[in-house]
Amino acid sequence: MSKIQVVTSINHEEVEFLCEPQETLLNVLRETLGRTGTKEGCATGDCGACSVLVDDRLVCACLMLAAEAGGCEITTIEGIASEEGLDPIQQKFLEHAALQCGICTPGLIIATKSLLDRHADPDETTIRYWLAGNLCRCTGYDKIIRAVQDVARDRARDRARDLAGPA
């Protein structure tokens, strides 16, 4: 069985790896590349714990072959914080106690980023349906939704302020 060489970009960093044809992106991220922030909950696309962004699109890493990742731009949880510190999504999850065991949290943060990058002002229903692919067994989702709403509110306020221009 010959391995495939893949060149891709993960969190804006060029990455090269070898993989077996049937290996999933999730396997490669975790086992080959040692980036264990993306979690395996089911490996069948039913829980969202392995959520990543591929070319800005929210996907389950367990539903993609590593071989398909060539030439893509992949964002994992390790790429969400920046030199300035935590992303507001991460900060609000902490402030709202939107995590208990934390295993679903990386997937949810990625899914939330995807949601808010596309929907400026999602209502509660939109948020819940967008995040329906991310199972959480600990929180009952309440504080997660509130954290997301809080980030959306802050972004709306920042946008309004930017539109208003300098004082």
Binding site: C47, E78, L94, N134, K143
Partner: protein, 755 residues
């Protein structure tokens, strides 16, 4: 204990100290660690629900290139004759040993029969396929009625029902029975003006933690093993593994990773002893991870149950008598929560005449494990449904019916002791006064109310508190942090010492670096480990007073501790500046050495936590679909140390309870194979299935804890099953006795009643 105490930090909701690592993906869970040179372990599982294992031939597998070790039941020592698992997990060590690796019989589809360790997961798979097992397939028993019927196929020819007045002369699948009785039920029913009866069935359900079990074991040539794993209790795992493997606990080191949910399901071992044996044979670290399918097929769900309940009351609502008969599916080995089920069913009520009969039954399904208040959700589902019907018959508000009979301080619980101060009535009154109880319901919706209860336990905990040279505080304890407990320990330490929350860190030690602690479970962590942390802090304060006295040249009795500082007592006649914890720490080398406080206890005085839930559900009469419109959880926390995490427990337990009530169930085919062993068809609630979950924390402090804490983790799952069932009853006017309230069941009930 005064309730008017104003705390600085207790009751607030600061950011948890381990939070940054968890939102950035740095925190390491069970499958996240990799050791150099590691190889991979996988388990061969029985394809039959019931079979005698005649022969296992591992020759081809062991000889395969890249395979380092193969083990079967023969590689394990004889299961020990004595020893119970203890805690909230039921059953004997011997049965647990047989559960994690079958010996002469495979007792459920998925039962482990062999394991391999190989260079890669795919080679491990090939090795499993090369193991030849000869089975004598036996007829499985898959439901309570079949398992209890005379002449049923037996799982264990040596199982003679325990605790019967006389030992039976024939073996059966009924492993154990229990009776709790008081007074005269016949007379009690005679006094009743109204009697309600009901029969209720609930299938098996799983804890549903998102993280599958995972571990790495590493054994050296001296036979010492280190096991990294996700666990609710590294010390309990060490104890169980030592017994199963006949090893000295000193040769086993268990390190708890972060844990992605447990709910009781990770209080017992599955992979760990296998990984130890494989790593011993292979002389390499062995990493093992369960797939989601394995989690469903081969780890303990909670019991499916069958209840029959009868309850009588006078016109004014006073309960006069109650009987309950309950049967629990134990699965392959005994250890179902029949005891807690029997003890909780009438716990919220004053009642002089009752008879509760419980039994647990072996059948060819996985051995059940603890699931959040084991036995109580099933018990409350039956009793609270019956009481709901009773309230209707009496034309009485359901909360008033509960208030009329509510247990209180001094009430003798059905299981014997008198309740100390408890908060049931406060919860009931809070529910009645809550706006959600009286607001209007839309068309097609109904409202249901139910009471929940859990004893909560104490058990053993240890804690050390180290004061660093700069006065910052490090707390070390042995309870894996599943829901924010590090934050609670930091809060209690900061409050006790009088220092800011940010100056305290809590770390979770492993079995070699901290003192013994029982599991994170049983709703005991904030209570018992919190108590140990507080005592360790008080130890520090006592030492600080001694150090300050030495520094000032005064008597220890003349040193007070206030707001994080040593101050001279008013009687001292000198200008002495207060000494902060940092000051004392900086000077510690001169006054006696490092500052280290500790405590180790077997916590007594755990306080029960009662709850009341209000559920608003809407039924689509054309399809039977049930939607959750609103849910209100009211619970007595004693004192909420970290308010948001207490709310989180209430909301999470509500979600699990609602999932259990509406859609979750183990579906078996006639061969005993689970048909829905995945998150697609084992249907847990998703974000769009639930509304915001309103919470109201009642605080009736527990006088036996320094901050008044009552455990809160388990009670939240107890009432939602009945609250949902009662809401559906209210919505459609028909009592559906069984769960889940899945659309086909609801529609069938509507059709049977004439639409």
């Amino acid at each position: 204990m005064s309730e008017a105490i104003e705390y600085k930090i207790v009751g607030t909701s600061p950011v948890r100290p381990d939070g940054v690592d968890k939102v950035t993906g740095r925190a390491q869970y069970g499958a996240d660690l990799n050791l150099p040179n590691q190889i991979y372990g996988k388990v061969l599982r029985s394809p039959h629900a019931h079979a005698r294992i005649k022969r296992i031939d591992i020759g081809r597998a062991a000889a395969m290139p890249g395979v380092y070790a193969v083990i079967t039941g023969e590689d394990f020592p004889e299961p020990p004759e004595h020893g119970e698992i203890g805690g909230e997990a039921g059953g004997s060590i011997a049965d647990l040993a047989r559960n994690i690796m079958a010996r002469d019989k495979a007792l459920y589809h998925g039962h482990a029969v062999a394991a391999v360790a190989a260079r890669s997961l795919s080679i491990a798979d090939e090795a499993l396929a090369a193991i030849e097992v000869e089975y004598e397939v036996l007829e499985p028993v898959l439901d309570l009625d079949a398992a209890m019927a005379p002449g049923a196929p037996l799982l264990d020819e040596n199982c003679f029902t325990k605790n019967l007045p006389e030992k039976p002369d024939k073996p059966s699948n009924i492993a154990d029975v229990m009776v709790l009785a008081r007074g005269d039920v016949d007379q009690g029913f005679e006094q009743a003006d109204v009697i309600v009866e009901g029969e209720y069935r609930i299938p098996m359900a799983h804890q549903g933690y998102i993280e599958p079990h995972a571990c790495i074991a590493n054994t050296n040539e001296a036979g010492q093993s280190t096991v990294w794993c996700c666990t609710q209790g590294p010390f309990d795992f060490r104890a169980i593994a030592a017994k199963v493997l006949n090893m000295d606990v000193a040769d086993l080191k268990f390190v708890a990773s972060e844990i992605g949910g447990g709910f009781g399901g990770k209080t017992v071992v599955y992979l760990e002893p296998l990984a130890v044996l494989l790593s011993r044979k292979a002389r390499r670290p062995v990493k093992m991870m369960m797939s989601r399918e394995e989690v469903f097929r081969a780890t303990g769900p909670t019991s499916g149950t069958h209840y029959k309940v009868k309850v009588g009351a006078k016109r004014d609502g006073t309960l006069t008598a109650a009987t309950a008969w309950m049967a629990f599916e134990a699965g392959a080995y005994a250890g179902a929560p029949m005891g807690p089920g029997a003890m909780t069913i009438l716990a919220p009520y004053q009642l002089e005449n009752f008879k509760i009969e419980a039994c647990e039954v072996l059948l060819n399904k996985p051995k059940v494990a603890a699931y959040r208040a084991p036995g109580a959700p099933q018990s409350m589902h039956a009793m609270e449904s019956a009481l709901d019907d009773l309230a209707r018959e009496l034309n009485m508000d359901p909360i008033d019916l509960r208030l009329k009979n509510a247990a209180d301080e001094g009430t003798r619980a059905p299981y014997g002791p008198k309740f100390p101060v408890i908060g049931l009535k406060e919860c009931l009154r809070a529910a009645k006064a809550h706006p959600n109880y009286t607001r209007a319901l839309p068309e097609g919706a109904g409202r249901g109310v139910a009471v929940g209860f859990w004893f909560n336990v104490g058990m053993q905990s240890s804690a050390e508190v180290h004061i660093n040279e700069n006065g910052t505080v490090t707390v070390v304890e042995g309870n894996p942090d599943i829901g924010g407990s590090r934050a609670s320990m930091c809060i209690m330490a900061a409050e006790t010492l009088g220092v800011p929350y940010e100056r305290v860190r809590t770390l979770i030690g492993d079995t070699e670096s901290t003192g013994f602690s029982n599991v994170t479970g049983g709703s005991r962590t904030t209570f018992a480990t919190g108590m140990a942390v507080v005592q360790a802090c008080e130890d520090i304060i006592a030492q600080c007073r001694v150090r300050a006295a030495a520094t000032w040249g005064v008597d220890e009795a003349q040193v007070l501790w206030q707001d994080g500082q040593a101050i001279p007592a008013p009687s001292v006649n000198a200008e002495l500046k207060p000494l902060s914890l940092a000051d004392i720490a900086a000077n510690a080398v001169k006054t006696g050495g490092p500052l280290l406080g500790h405590a180790a206890l077997n916590a007594q005085g755990a306080g029960a936590s009662f709850s009341v839930n209000i559920a608003d559900l809407q039924v689509d009469r054309d399809t039977g679909k049930v939607d959750v419109l609103a849910f209100t959880a009211i619970q007595d926390a004693g004192r909420a140390i970290h308010k948001a995490y207490v709310e989180g427990q209430m909301q999470g337990g509500a979600a699990q309870g609602l999932g259990w009530a509406l859609n979750e169930e183990y579906i078996y085919n006639a061969d005993g194979i689970m048909e829905n062993a995945g998150f697609l068809d084992y249907r847990m609630p998703v974000a769009s299935d639930l509304p915001m979950i309103d919470t109201h924390i009642v605080e009736v402090p527990n006088p036996r804890h320094p901050y008044g804490v009552r455990g809160v983790g388990e009670t939240p799952i107890v009432a939602p099953l009945a609250a949902a069932a009662n809401a559906v009853r209210d919505a459609i006017g028909i009592r559906i006795h069984d769960l889940p309230l899945s659309p086909p069941r609801v529609l069938a009930a509507l059709d049977a009643a004439g639409g």
